[in-house]
Amino acid sequence: MSDTALLTLEGVYTNIAQYHILQGVDLVVPRGGVTMLLGRNGVGKTTTLRSIIGHWRAHQGRILFDGQDITKLATPAIARLGIGFVPEDMGIFADLTVEENMVLAAVSGPIHSARLDWIFTAFPPLKTFWKSHAGNLSGGQKQMLSIARAMVEERKLYLIDEPTKGLAPAIISTMAKALKDLKDQGSSVLLVEQNFAVAKALGDSANVMDDGRMIWSGEMAELGRDAALQERLMGLSMEAH
């Protein structure tokens, strides 16, 4: 593992029931910057994130985070090492208010006011609906809350799964700007994203998966420029999205 690597997956295999989803995934997430995880639907991107956070157990291979082997650690222990997780289904607590969702996410104590101000600047609706039940928010506002919850404390790594899925263009640009802020602060982000414009704007490095394996790793800019490479790796040019 190189010194610059924050997270490393070495030959990770994950099975869900009788299905062999990950079949030897290798991945390096450097310190700082946004690492994109790309690929068609069903190739194992979400399973990769869930294996890192410990929701699904890697049956073979190693997952190293900040120099520590986390392969067999329980999810809470992994999270407390400094990993914020934004799942694909957002995972908000609908019966809790926006405030309660945020308070719960601040594991180490009360929310710092400067941090909260930053979040309110990035996602103004959260301030408006601070006392409202999260279940009453719109889809875009729920996604804002989901990301804000991860951002409420400083984490070493953010795992974010398709934050722009199904959102209106105006909301997508809000999301992209918040993620850019996170990146500019020097945070490390592993981002699964289907929106190529967002991926190209945010991504520093890119990793493409197919059939449970990593089939290409390189610079995001390089992938963004090469339509033929996109066609070969993902079956279509992402510019066509």
Partner: protein
């Protein structure tokens, strides 16, 4: 290109039913009390039955609240919950019988002190038993509902037999402390003193539970865990540890309910918890699995319904609670206040 059609959207006004819908479960209790008043047509009898029904409901709530949280938080169906009711009753009444000088004294404070000691003994015993029950019986079968039903039923049978070994197979009759015997007369209605105590204890426990669940971080974790345990763990909380705590607290509350129930009936048997499980399950189901508020309202409805029907048409009392459950589930199949769980 044709012109866009005229479009003048209007906001639909919510109907009265839509507006009061969220409050309907809460309104059901006064509505049932009102229906009882109309059916009984005797204010004194109605008041007696209402206090009696509320007291019974509070005791069922004490016994059922732990079960609903345990199910909501970890998806565990604990058919052995009644064992905590029985053990609580036996330990509590044993303590109480050992404090004869306090229970027979003509002093309300001394009598309540004796009951308090009995309750503390029962809750400590059932809390410790809950910890062991979770470790030995429940933990190996997480995620397997059928196995949970079988082993927790088995656990209940084992505990019942242990009670018979320790206290004997006979029913044990006893008297309530002196100050809790008899009734007070209010507006022509005779209201048993003990039932008033049960109502106060039930309300106090419900208020305390709501405070913990709504105002503390541990309460937030429990409420969030009921909804989406996986996400709570991803935030860094050890939900398993929280669950063990809830299991212990739920068992201790069942023990408290057992003592209260025993004092209500003035007799204890090894099978009393098992018999109470029917009412407990009805309350948990109609309340909405995992909902403490739903459990509270459900318990009050069951208590009131049982008392009213037993007075109006005694033969129908046996089926009144089943009928109540069927009616509520036809209205709200997930219970009155359903907890929306993440898939």
């Amino acid at each position: 290109m044709s012109a866009a059609p005229e479009h003048a959207p209007t906001m639909a006004q919510a109907t009265l039913a839509e507006r009061i819908g969220p409050f309907m479960p809460v309104l059901l209790v006064p509505l049932l009390a009102l229906a009882g008043f109309v059916a009984i047509m005797n204010p004194a009898s109605w008041l007696t039955l209402t206090v009696s029904g509320l007291a019974m409901g509070m005791m069922i709530f004490l016994m059922a609240s732990g079960l609903t949280l345990v199910f909501g938080l970890m998806d565990v169906i604990n058919f052995g919950h009644g064992a905590f009711v029985s053990v609580g009753a036996f330990v509590g009444i044993t303590v109480l019988m050992g404090l004869g000088h306090l229970t027979e004294a003509p002093s309300l404070m001394l009598n309540l002190g004796a009951v308090l000691l009995a309750v503390i003994g029962a809750m400590l015993a059932t809390g410790a038993m809950g910890w062991a029950f979770e470790k030995i019986i429940v933990a190996p079968v997480y995620g397997h509902h059928l196995k949970q039903i079988l082993v927790t039923m088995g656990g209940l049978i084992v505990v019942e037999q242990l009670i018979i070994v320790l206290w004997g197979p006979e029913e044990i009759y006893f008297n309530r402390p002196e100050a809790l015997k008899g009734a007070i007369t209010f507006a022509g209605a005779a209201i048993e003193k003990y039932r008033l105590v049960a109502v106060v204890v039930g309300l106090a426990v419900f208020a305390a539970m709501r405070w913990v669940l709504r105002r503390t971080k541990i309460g937030l974790i429990v409420r969030a865990g009921v909804e989406n345990g996986e996400m709570v763990e991803a935030l860094g909380y050890r939900l398993k540890l929280v669950f063990v705590g809830v299991f212990i607290a739920g068992s201790a509350l069942a023990g408290l309910g057992g003592v209260m129930w025993a004092l209500y009936q003035e007799v204890i048997t090894a099978h009393m918890g098992n018999h109470a499980m029917i009412l407990i399950f009805i309350v948990v189901i109609i309340g909405g699995l995992g909902s403490v508020e739903g459990c509270f309202i459900g318990a009050l409805l069951v208590g009131l319904m049982q008392n009213y029907i037993a007075f109006i048409e005694p033969k129908a009392a046996l089926i009144s609670n089943i009928a109540l459950m069927v009616t509520i589930l036809m209205w709200r199949p997930m219970g009155m206040i359903p907890v929306v769980k993440a898939k």
